[in-house]
Amino acid sequence: MGLLKLFWSLNWGARFGLLIVIFFSTCAIFAPWLAPYGQSQIVGDVWEPLFGKFVFGTDQIGRDMLSMLIYGARNMIALALLTTGCAFGLGALLGFLAATMRGWVDQVLSRFVDMIISIPTLIFALIVLSATGTAIPWLITVIAIIYAMPVFRIARAVAMDIEVMDYVEAARLRGEGLWWIMREEILPNAMTPLAAEFGLRFCFVFLLISGLSFLGLGLQPPLADWGAMVRGNADGIAWGYMHPLVPAACIALLTIGINLVVDTAVQKASGLRDDQ
């Protein structure tokens, strides 16, 4: 009941966004039970029409688009969540370290981050992936490093404010170690602002992964992914098949949904409104 009440108290944008997020999460979690076919199973002719025998038709080699979309949701969301998680772990750790140790550690880390952040993300990813190949661990590492940089800045700024509090001073005088201060004093207090960032960064990561997989550098078959589905079906457009628009629309819908939720959450959390 409480949850339902909260839902109705939101504006229509956030409600819409929340429904989208719940919808795609359900697809991701229950993919094997929801999908009528396997993600690489060939079930029909090439480019069977949309809304015919197969709900979203079949793709350029005759796989069921609906099943690929459902499995794609699972693969993409899992990959993006894992990557964003790694980015936050790394970024927060380094950010807290810079804030608590100050001095040269802070200087070195901050200048390094300034430098990496001024390389365009897609170009950075392309350089590294062209050298390492597109194995999933590399994909996660590269994108996590890229997005750990902005997280570092936020974590450092937040931790700087916390670090000057009396209770941190007290812990220091008590003789607590660096790791203990970071884990027990700074982390719990930095949790809320970092959590607010998570949604937004997840969107960026998701879009970068989609872009890379569109270029053919993301997940490799037999794993289904939305970016690669767009690229694979792209030739169909010239023949009037609208198949590539379906996975592209899914990417758009999910990121718009998350953005709507994040917008409202941030507004509610900070109590700030646009018109003030």
Partner: protein, 312 residues
């Protein structure tokens, strides 16, 4: 301030060049064994090392790469042994043509709409703009590209779906054939720019001196022209420059979609062939343009703001 920013810019470029030469080398393992396969004989691999100059120490190789790069010699492509400089030279104009045309449309459009949205905030117009821009920044570029392609090339059939530009075309033909990629970039970059412009102006209008002017009873148009506009210059320069920087990188995916013969498409092809000299050179060009535009944004906004200009 200015010198510090300039130094950071140059340092960034050096760091990028280090990453794309030594970093790539460390990550990719031995190029020669990768190219010839595990079965290649030791002599062949050694000959390949010699040919690619892999026997000299790392720092010497980096310095000579940098020296040659600055003189415009970017080495030869691994796959077809053509000079990378000429490959890039043929295409760099196309990419700037594409980005320039998109900027020419997007900048005035986005600034005007963004300012109007900020002035009449919470009006119907503002809400419509904010929905459109939120969608615009959330959707991948290739989605916009394929929708435009489906509408204008397939459904209406008035614009070409593939932008096979060539050198012999006149300006009008060039514009016609690159209409869809330009339109895609315009839509994508305008969304970002409108949102940032609106935020900057809203922020400005919330400042105390504007409040003061209102309380003094100055007319709204006078507030905008005399009080807001001179101070809006710096944020607007920032917005425009940041988006131009974004635009130059944004071309990569759009070029791939429309098979447009630009730097981005060249880079992606090279990434697949693992033709590292091309990847390195194109990455360096993209990153340099991006860094330089960001640097310009900071410097111009410092110059336009007396307070920043005179700080120590």
């Amino acid at each position: 301030m200015l010198l510090k920013r300039l130094a950071l810019g140059i340092l960034t470029l050096v760091a990028i060049s280090l990453l794309i030469t030594l970093g790539v080398e460390a990550l990719s393992g031995d190029v020669c064994t990768a190219m010839m396969g595990q079965m290649a004989s030791a002599e062949k691999v050694a000959a390949c090392h010699l040919q690619l100059n892999l026997n000299v120490p790392m720092h010497e190789r980096y310095l000579s790469w940098l020296w040659n790069f600055m003189q415009g010699d970017m080495g030869n492509a691994l796959t077809n042994h053509r000079s990378v400089s000429s490959l890039i030279g043929n295409r760099i104009g196309n990419t700037f043509f594409l980005a320039g045309l998109a900027a020419l449309i997007a900048v005035p459009l986005a600034l005007t709409l963004g300012v109007i949205a900020a002035l009449y905030r919470n009006s119907f117009f503002d809400r419509a703009i904010s929905i459109v821009t939120l969608s615009g920044i959330s959707v991948p570029d290739f989605f916009i590209a394929y929708i435009l392609m489906a509408v204008f090339a397939v459904w209406l059939g008035i614009l070409p779906a593939i932008s096979n530009l060539d050198q012999s075309m006149d300006l009008w033909d060039r514009i016609y054939i690159s209409a869809l990629p330009v339109l895609t970039l315009t839509v994508a970059v305008s969304a970002h720019m409108m949102r940032m412009t609106r935020a900057a102006i809203v922020n400005l209008l919330a400042s105390p001196y504007i409040e003061m002017a209102k309380l003094k009873g100055i007319s709204p148009s006078r507030i905008i022209i005399k009080h807001a506009l001179p101070n809006a210059l710096s944020p607007i320069i920032q917005v425009v420059m940041l988006n131009l920087a974004w635009l130059v990188v944004g071309v990569v995916i759009v070029e791939v979609v429309f098979v447009y013969p630009g730097l981005g498409a060249l880079m992606i092809d090279a990434v697949f062939l693992r033709d590292m000299p091309i990847v390195q050179a194109t990455a360096m060009v993209f990153a340099s343009v991006y860094v330089i535009l960001n640097l310009l944004a900071d410097i111009l906004s410092m110059l336009s703001n007396p307070r920043l200009r005179h700080r120590n």
